[in-house]
Point group: C2
Chain length 256, copies 2
């Protein structure tokens, strides 16, 4: 049996209770932190909290060499941990398919994601978001600005009055996280800076950062430790406007 | 202090560990189950598991008369519980704004939602979903079919190759939940039945139901106890196709 367990967003206590039980009962516990990370818990914190030993796999150790994980799931119960929810990213669907091909049962313990938190913390309603996008480091996509596909996704959503979540690039190998101000600066420099944006940081923590302002103003601000998210709101419902003003200090002139 | 705590999807153990701690430490615990319900835990189960007394509020008791909740949050620590995540629905943003207007601190403990589970259980990738929609009971919107806005949202997403989550109506007052087969039947009768759909039931449970088929075939099937979700996939990435075949028994002829 291979169970995919989400650790949630913030620290070792963000995991659902049923996920914690699965971790404690497992014969083998694996984890990856290259798609996302916990803001306030190290692997050692997790090992000590759950009283287990955790084998951390890098991207190659999951995508090219998943055999140790699958072998453990064949001979006993194995748990595979990720920050956030375990199965919103393609990588882990691939691992689940490989387990299925070997005739292994799989199970998912869902956990909170930044997508959910983004909506809750900003007051922007989840059914008013369009397609999401990711803003990469310029050096990572070989260009020197913002990929045209990112701009097209945001424009397409804006035309329809929808909000856009922009996930920000993470390069686990070098521990590089694109910050909210860097992302805002990329948009302001290579596209436009005069629109409303919202940066969310430390989602899931007791003290999250939520700041709404013009994108070119966000580029000049700082938001504490990454990972961050950048949201470009579309048309605002009156209650969304009130929430951005109350909880994200949005300048009222930008909310017309 | 008013803390919004999500209970997650399935039973009393779907709550995040930090949410459980907040519930146990609270001076007063409120809950609502008119926007969503736990599949496998009653209020009594929750009270016994958390060793607290829970005051359940109906819609009027949250939206028109939130004073008891706000008073409790003023004189001590109050927790407000919902199934899923506590703040993806407008109602609770409104409650948070009212607390803010009274100068009270608020905090959110995020939890898994069906939106996240839908993506994880089907293998459909979260960044390939467009705007979501809700299919209401025909008698609830005063028409006798499917609102044009629902069809337009799905069509608009399909044109862009994007997936659509259709939430299904819930009338807590009368305990009526629109089932996946009823929703599929509405689409098949009043729009079209020849497209691919996926019904998800018991999300977050140890044994979720995930079935992919033509919408008019889904209309003839049953999926265990509601709440259910109906997803209309857009263009499929090869790994999404494999996942629908492996985990949702999609007929391969529908995946071309």
């Amino acid at each position: 049996m291979l169970s995919f367990v989400g650790l949630g967003l913030y620290d070792e206590r963000s995991v659902p209770v049923d996920g914690r039980e699965k971790i404690r009962e497992a014969d083998a516990v694996f984890a990856e932190f290259y798609t996302s990370e916990l803001v306030a818990a190290t692997v050692t914190d997790l090992e000590s909290y759950h009283d287990v030993s955790i084998k951390v796999r890098d991207r190659a150790g999951v995508e090219q060499d998943p055999a140790p994980i699958l072998d453990a799931a064949e001979s006993g119960t194995a748990v595979f941990l990720t920050a956030g929810d375990p199965t919103v990213s393609t990588t882990h669907v691939d691992l689940r398919l490989r387990a299925h091909e070997r005739g292994l049962d799989t199970q998912i313990v869902h956990a909170p994601t930044v997508q959910t938190a983004a909506s809750g913390l900003t007051g922007l309603q989840n059914y008013r978001f369009g397609k999401a996008t990711t803003i990469p480091f310029p050096w990572a996509h070989g260009g020197d600005g913002v990929p045209q596909s990112v701009i097209e996704t945001i424009e397409d959503n804006l035309e329809r009055g929808l909000h856009t979540i922009a996930y920000l690039d993470i390069k686990a190998e070098s521990d590089d996280l694109l910050s909210g101000s860097e992302a805002a600066s990329l948009l302001a420099t290579h596209w436009r800076g005069d629109m409303l944006g919202v940066v969310v940081g430390q989602a899931g923590s007791p003290d999250p950062v939520v700041v709404a302002d013009r994108v070119d103003e966000l580029a000049e601000d700082t938001f504490g430790p990454a990972p961050h998210l950048l949201i470009i709101p579309g048309d605002l419902h009156p209650i969304e406007r009130d929430a951005l003003e109350a909880f994200a200090n949005a300048p009222s002139s930008l909310l017309e």
